[in-house]
Assembly symmetry: C2
């Protein structure tokens, strides 16, 4: 194979066959994908054994740089979509993967990305069962974009959703805030926090699975682009409730706090790629918290606030003063994920 | 709303909410999408009533120009993925749609694309149930890329696949060859065939549905990038059979033939976006053909050759001479779909 992607690799000819065979089929090999039909054929019977509803989600990944401390675009493309599925209570099982590659992109880098996707998927028990490759001329895309979609089955007794949120419910976060956003910001702008910052990019289903037996879970949502603030504003819009966050309760690592203070940015707006907000019945909030804290990577989970009826998002500071938190018109950075 | 897409439209803030609400949720509205969870939640029970296997497929669309005679990137993104699903015998029912938009792209054009997707999906009885929007800085992508994935259910008694192909089977095509490829080539290179050429971009399930009762169908595959030649070479690789095409039997419109002769290009390599190859037991080939020809848009369907054991693709010309047809290293054009 050549060193670099050429337009021929996206043309439907021999070059594309070679690329698909040597990279994607080789890294992602599984029984369904290996059949090389234009669509994955997935037996429904095992799915219906585990639940009554399919969770189906998609995301495109355009993160820049494509490799960053704690992950790369491949890991992100698997975890991001898997996490959107997991938030419904479903175990993510199958993914599709579509690649848009710029002419001239390094084949070695593509292999590294595919390898990272394969490793992440395998650790999560997910199979990449169908895919697509497009190559665009140099300058028509920046390096590599990946789109993944995925499916999982929501357990029969689980019906989480925004409609269950009520005033008095507790707001939990599964760990430290802002690691992914701060890491990308630092890598892009050379802010000098290298070595201290790592993206939290991770597969969240193990946390979700542990929460399945907790009766009082109202809903979960991963706090990606737009951060915790965006999630809480989405909840306001869909539930009609309000959400008060206690500033002192927010778990934030010191480098992330340092970076946010240096730039005067609100850490609640920072993107995460391995953290979620859980809204929980106050009766079960401590059980949910201790469940999360027992898990590997869950020791920083915290109760960070309470649902009220204000139809707004507010932050209570250490002096007992409350301020409204608007959803910003935009986020500090493009191409965060 | 402003006239043009800004980075804020992809940031997870208010601007993105407005874009999603005013365009995507408005054009694609349906019960599942309207819930605005991060994943579509699809009841499994209706799916298992119609079959035993899920067909799951994805594709990314990077076509240039984004509007062309006979379609646009939106229609293509719905039909292309729906057709990959339909080739398994499944009726496509749900789609995901992920947008990667270049900063500065016209909001009006985005509306037109979304409207075209909504219309195409609605005509095909498909719902767009989950999605994602990313905006990248000017120059990091060319205008607009769309990734769709979709699911459908394969009927219980249908088991089409390459493994069933046998020497003696007949090769059918569902209509004229090369319309999409010729149309894009003409539009891109200003070859002067304007007005005579139209992409064949269309939803193929109605053809597939009509073929479901035909017992002798071995397999179907839509002849997109790489054309009929690429499909036959994929069949060689997976089935171990050979495929002989009769040149005089190929249905080709006169403008497409004119363009291919002008440029000295093999029409079997031209991309299609609304045609498929069917491999059929010789006993049922005429039934399959007459079934296709009765359908709206199926009058040009033809038997174009026969399966043999040569493990190669060959073309028999009008003088009875046969030549091997190689799979080219690449196709004439990037960004055909």
């Amino acid at each position: 194979m050549p060193d670099r992607i050429t337009l021929a690799h996206g043309s439907g000819g021999k070059a594309m066959q070679e690329l698909v065979n040597k990279i994607f089929l080789s890294y992602f090999a599984n029984e369904i994908l290996n059949r090389q039909e234009d669509q994955a054929r997935i037996p429904l019977a095992p799915l219906t054994l585990t639940g009554e509803k399919l969770a189906f989600s998609c995301d495109s990944y355009v993160v820049d740089p494509i490799r960053f401390p704690g992950g790369d675009i491949g890991k992100l493309a698997v975890c991001g979509t898997a996490n959107d599925i997991a938030m419904s209570g479903a175990k993510p099982i199958y993914l599709s993967a579509g690649f848009i590659i710029e002419e001239g992109f390094s084949i070695d880098e593509l292999k590294q990305v595919a390898c990272s996707m394969a490793k992440t998927a395998s650790e999560a028990g997910i199979e990449i069962v169908t895919g697509d490759t497009k190559v665009v001329p140099k300058g028509a895309a920046d390096k590599l974009f990946i789109s993944t979609s995925g499916i999982g089955v929501i357990p029969a007794n689980v019906d989480w959703g925004v409609q269950h949120i009520q005033p008095g419910d507790q707001i939990l976060i599964s760990g430290n805030l802002g690691d992914h956003g701060a890491t990308i910001l630092n890598a892009r702008e050379n802010l000098g926090f290298g070595g201290q910052l790592n993206s939290d990019c991770q597969h969240l289903y193990p946390f979700v699975e542990a929460l399945l037996p907790v009766k009082g879970i109202r809903t979960l949502r991963d706090a990606t682009r737009g951060g915790v603030n965006a999630v809480l504003h989405e909840f306001v819009a869909s539930s009609g409730c309000g959400f008060q966050v206690i500033e002192q309760a927010l778990p934030v690592s010191s480098p992330v706090r340092g970076l946010s203070e240096l730039l005067g940015l609100e850490v609640l707006n920072f993107a995460n790629e391995g953290k979620f907000i859980a809204i929980v019945d106050p009766k079960d909030a401590n059980l949910a918290l201790s469940t999360l804290r027992q898990l590997k990577g869950g020791s920083d989970a915290a109760i960070i606030g309470e649902v009220n009826s204000s139809q707004k998002v507010s932050v209570l500071n250490a002096f007992g003063a409350s301020r409204w938190l608007d959803l910003p018109w935009d986020e500090p950075m493009p191409r965060i994920c």
